[in-house]
Symmetry: C2
């Protein structure tokens, strides 16, 4: 019998309770012993709720109960989660968390304590919800030099971009609908400004490089500047705009970024729509692989947390995770080579000579109902090269990166 | 230092050697100790090849060397692989194999010996090549009641179906090209008759149910009857025909089958083209998840084998795999409900009254350039119901199953 405690009875916390109860026989079977939820910690009361009798308001009750061997942290945010998690690990209790803010900020320290205490700090649900990408990197794709990870890691913005593409909605309309449906929060900045995806790609980058990736140093651009007009141009170009988090080893070093990117139909992430998440991994011998599924949501996220609990119960000793506190040196995104889509006011006759002078040959595009401007796509060039030209372009309205991989799936 | 032996220096065996040598530092790092290939077993000689000096022709040399802790079996076929693998396990050596024929035929026995000897029998590469689906089922999706697994598990036939759809090729043309490119063997029956996919879905079914699935009892239909005319009808219906291996828990029990199925664009496997493999998994709390990548090929398969070697070196004790020798009772495919596409000779005027009498309302379809016949799609019905009508239909040319799931991705 393994006894666990859940810190936080919000969406994910109540999901963890529900998953354990619903699948108790399967969970116990896979863990090799019965799993009992002994405590749920929350500041609130839940009169009439099944957890009423196991609810505690004082964390010390859990911390000081030697029977509790696994602590599930699903409160979110760095504090007090960090203090609680560190306290549990120091007491020799394994911790499983869905908290990407905590993992991105304190990952190496907590991993180190778990190693020293010969217990485990697991965080499968912190990236990609129910998609088992963390364990895939730690336990499955171990024979490879991972060269690239890119993905759609934020369901809220992917829902918005899908609706903007399919329904022609403006950004504000897509955001309001996402909020009404509960996909986006009232303060949606973490999603729409790209910070959620940024933390997640930082975690994945730390795992595949073994060094700590400071998420604050990852170039991050959200979707707030994407408009219905941009989508119209994308449709003419047969491209879809997605918020992509990417991290790759290049000749100039490791580059990580989050930005809206126009994808071709042949791109493996092109078809990932709605609230789904997907992670694309390229290994030097494996070639391309992709994982996709529900990136968020109460039960899929809870499923990942409970799979961590099972692993923590089964593995009474530390399962090594290589994520040192040495900082990973990130190279400038300026060296990344791709095409760029640009919208510019005025007419082709008037602007094209200057555009060709700045960028070389381009292909132009117009969008139905969009007047007084036109768009063009550059050849493949580095961001630095592109920016030099873009700064000198009069009447530039916006620019969006274009993915140039012909077909990553068939690359190897 | 862990010493390993490779049994068989064919495509996969030489790939394993190459992956270990290419990624030696990564492999050693992830295994926690240095991995050395001490022997390669093959009947042939390879003068001038790097393995020349470690090549042995007598398996007893490996079996009786206590330094060898992990044996890699990549010979294929049940014998002598079975005898070799069993011998190694009984000597306390862990075994990693890519051999689906061996795993499908002898899985439970070999897993049991490994458990008794407190070592490991790993077989990640036996299904889905480089896609880590076995470890995902054993170690990741552990909190779920898995309700369905379906997939495109054979790259050769998927390449053929893709080319038939994209280029309008006839079956024979697609097969010959696949053979010329080395995707299909000279005796391609295992692929085109569906037996390769059948063994793989039997392995996955055994793993997610925990009981032994006799692959010979899995209903299996290959792609040999699919013609360019069928593809033309599929195009008119905006469907793609794929060889699908599927296994699901239904109200009537567990049903497993391999057959060509017409998929809608919204189906998660619709876009999986060429030699790629994909595995779709649906859990009761996770919802839908999908894994895809290179399902075959020297290096992707070797990548999976080497990840097994790393796991075998890291886990000196048995990692439990639940796959009992108790036989799983499979229910008849007759209870599975879906639509059916039928081609029938003659004219609609002449045939439709009888068709409606047999199947109820249907929607008819004609294909460009196909004369003297037409097609129709039935409403959703069980296979048993459909077959009753189909037997009585004069002039029936062929029938293909149609998937009716509107959008599995958005189901949960």
């Amino acid at each position: 019998m393994a006894k666990i405690a859940i810190l936080g009875y919000g969406t994910v916390g109540s999901g963890v309770y529900e998953v354990v109860k619903t699948n108790q026989a399967i969970v116990d079977g896979n863990a090799g012993e019965s799993i009992e939820i002994k405590y749920v910690l929350d500041l609130r009361d839940f009169p009439g709720d099944p957890v009423e009798k196991i609810l505690v308001h004082d964390y010390d009750v859990i911390l000081n109960d030697p029977e509790v061997s696994v602590v599930v942290e699903v409160m979110g945010g760095v504090e007090p989660a960090y203090t609680f998690v560190k306290g549990a690990l120091l007491k020799g209790k394994s911790v499983c968390t869905s908290n990407k803010a905590l993992v991105a900020a304190k990952g190496p320290e907590l991993i180190k304590i778990a190693r020293e205490k010969d217990i485990n700090f697991f965080f499968e649900a912190s990236v990609g919800g129910g998609i088992p990408i963390i364990r895939a990197l730690n336990l499955c794709l171990t024979a490879d030099d991972i060269e690239e990870i890119s993905g759609i890691l934020n369901g809220t913005t992917n829902y918005m971009m899908t609706k903007m593409a399919d329904e022609g909605w403006e950004f504000d309309e897509a955001l309001k609908t996402a909020q009404d449906l509960g996909y986006a929060e009232k303060n949606p900045e973490a999603d729409i400004d790209g910070w959620d995806a940024c933390r997640k790609i930082a975690i994945l980058t730390s795992l595949y490089t073994g060094k700590n990736t400071d998420y604050e140093k990852v170039y991050t651009e959200g979707i707030t500047k994407i408009s219905a007009k941009d989508i119209k141009y994308a449709k003419e170009l047969k491209l879809r705009i997605k918020l992509i988090a990417e991290s790759q080893k290049t000749d100039e070093g490791l580059v990580a970024m989050v930005a809206p990117i126009m994808l071709k139909k042949s791109h493996p992430l092109y078809n990932v729509d709605g609230v789904l998440n997907a992670v694309y991994v390229r290994g030097n011998v494996l070639g391309p692989a992709m994982f996709f599924g529900s990136g968020a949501g109460k039960l899929p996220t809870a499923s990942a947390v409970v799979s961590d609990v099972i692993a923590a119960v089964k593995n009474r000793h530390n399962v090594e995770v290589v994520w040192d506190d040495e900082d990973l040196k990130l190279s400038s995104v300026g060296s990344v080579r791709r095409s760029f889509f640009v919208r510019v006011s005025g007419s082709e006759d008037e602007k094209l000579p200057k555009i060709k002078e700045l960028f070389g040959e381009v292909s132009t595009v117009t969008a139905p109902g969009v007047t007084g401007e036109f768009g063009f796509v550059t050849k493949v060039m580095s961001e630095d090269e592109f920016n030099k030209g873009y700064e000198k372009l009069d009447g530039a309205i916006t620019r969006i990166r274009v993915d140039n991989v012909v077909n990553k799936q068939e690359e190897n």
